[in-house]
Amino acid sequence: MSKKLTSTCFVRFDRDLCAGHGSCLRACPTKAIRIKKKKAARIVEQCIGCGECIRICRERAVSAATEGPDFLDKDQVAIALVSPVLYAQFPGVMPKDVLLGLHHMGFQHTIDMSYFLEMFQCATEEFIRRNQTSNQAPWPLISPICPIVVRLIAFKFPSLLPNVLPVLRPVALMAREVKRRLIPEYLDKGQEVVLYYINPCPTKKDPSCLPARQRSAPAEVALGINDIYPQLIKHVEQIKAADAIPFYQTRFEYETCATGNASMWGMSGGEIADMDIDRSLAVSGMEETIHYLEKIEMGLFQDIEYIEFRTCREGCLGGVLNAIDKYLAKSAVQKMIKRFGLGRRLHRENILRMYEKGEFQSEKDPSKLTSLFGARKEALTIDAMQEIEKVMQLIKGTDCTACGAPDCRTFAEDVVRGQATLKDCLFTGGQGKTKR
């Protein structure tokens, strides 16, 4: 990697493209970004991978830390783990044809995540039903599906960690199934297997999910939908144009997908729409999510059983790595549901049997999340707080961001912590950091 890139495990900053106008400063919900020497530089520990900086940057200086498009190696067995958001990127195309397009691109297997989302849905209903009598977890339960929400809670709202539904996420269920059933035979033959997560957000490279790679385990790679879209659309167009679609033999039910409800998962509210829960809510958007979490922390919404949070507007369809606009994608999903209808593929009894065996229990320890994404900064003492108040009085407080910090309060904190100096502030007669 070249020197001009500053990167975290989620996003990269290109210093050559950065114009230093600092719109990413204000967009960052964890205030992780500072401008140093007129170019964006960041405090790595606090990045939760939401991608808001990618979304807002006019210069396209910020990109996701996913892989580039020239990735498929002929010698490897490539398995695509497909987020249902991918289907919505191709209006008028059936999900199974999109998966076929991936086969034509060179993926040996395609795994449809909506199959596992359905499994998750069933387990969630069961957990909520039992929680009504056992009170194992406090109300309202918070959906664990959006990884950014979970990290945001660990970072900003640690008192709400017990509210996060302790059911394994669909991605984890999917990876487990693939590792159990599909991969061993390739490994026995001595072939190398690579798992590609095709998804709409830069978050899947979760350091808490990916332990150090063992020799027997497959490599795991995160791909943005926009990384593969240009190639994939060519294959999908061909399939659409063909009179007779070549039939592809799948071995497992989850290798293809034919129903309309698969694509629904990408919409805000798609997770709860088909769930058998009396009182649920769907919230989308970063600001709205933070606002609702603040309210839950103040004791509101205890009469609600389940809240689906997505930090992207309109849900995962609004993810930053998508190929088409979220409203077009939403319309495509709605048409698909109208045409093909909804319908579950899985038998409830089978899922309940798995539930009894503890197959859905999340083993992730909340305290581990706190240590990964919780506040890393040293806590402020009463003295330091008083210093901050004094600095605030000196610097007028117009939140102009010229100093390179997202707002005056954060700047004052940086000054007291010794990470910035007062001369960075224009209002104390200084030069600023963003002035060109």
Binding site: S159, M298, I382, G430
Partner: protein, 179 residues
């Protein structure tokens, strides 16, 4: 106004500012060294849209000081309940937080009509909310009981027609001893 000139040619580091601030303090007499930190937030009566903002500010302040999340949550619940009481009944008010080494004190004052029967108001389910409040989902009569439940000490003063003051104390558990 602050009439000071900061010497910014050299690296304006913290000790320097401290010296200047100390001088400033001595000159103006505005800053008195206080053992604790106090922050106040204004609350506007009948402003249901912005209700809760003062508590959120207090939440954020406490979070930057890294208190136990459970303690912050208790303060947040009390802050919100008291804020809602003011917004619903009390006219204008102030919510303030005092941070000391061993305790937090949350205080709410308002210029409203006061509480007629404090003992009754402390009972769960007793409410003086009107239909309008209930339609918005408030007024379940859990305000003061919830504040009592979540704080370590509570003190309510409400002389007739002279506003209300509620003072809640939260003791900070010794870090070594907790859990």
């Amino acid at each position: 106004m602050l009439a000071i000139s900061l010497d910014l040619t050299e690296n304006a580091n913290l000790p320097l500012i401290k010296v200047r601030l100390a001088r400033l303090t001595a000159q103006s007499g505005n800053f008195k060294p206080m053992p604790q930190l106090k922050k106040s937030f204004h609350i506007k009566g009948r402003d249901f849209i912005r209700a809760g903002e003062a508590s959120i500010n207090i939440q954020n302040l406490l979070k930057s000081m890294d208190f136990d999340p459970r303690l912050i949550r208790r303060v947040a619940i009390c802050g919100y309940e008291s804020e809602m009481n003011v917004v619903m009944h009390g006219g204008d008010g102030t919510l303030s937080i005092e941070v000391d080494n061993d305790k937090l004190i949350l205080e709410i004052t308002d210029d409203g009509p006061g509480i007629e029967d404090i003992e009754l108001a402390m009972q769960a389910g007793y409410s003086t909310a009107n239909d309008n409040h209930r339609e918005m989902g408030f007024g379940a009569g859990m305000g003061l009981p919830n504040m009592k439940k979540n704080s370590d000490q509570i003190q309510v003063e409400s002389p007739p027609n002279d506003g209300t003051v509620v003072r809640m104390t939260f003791f900070i558990p010794d870090k070594g001893k907790s859990d």
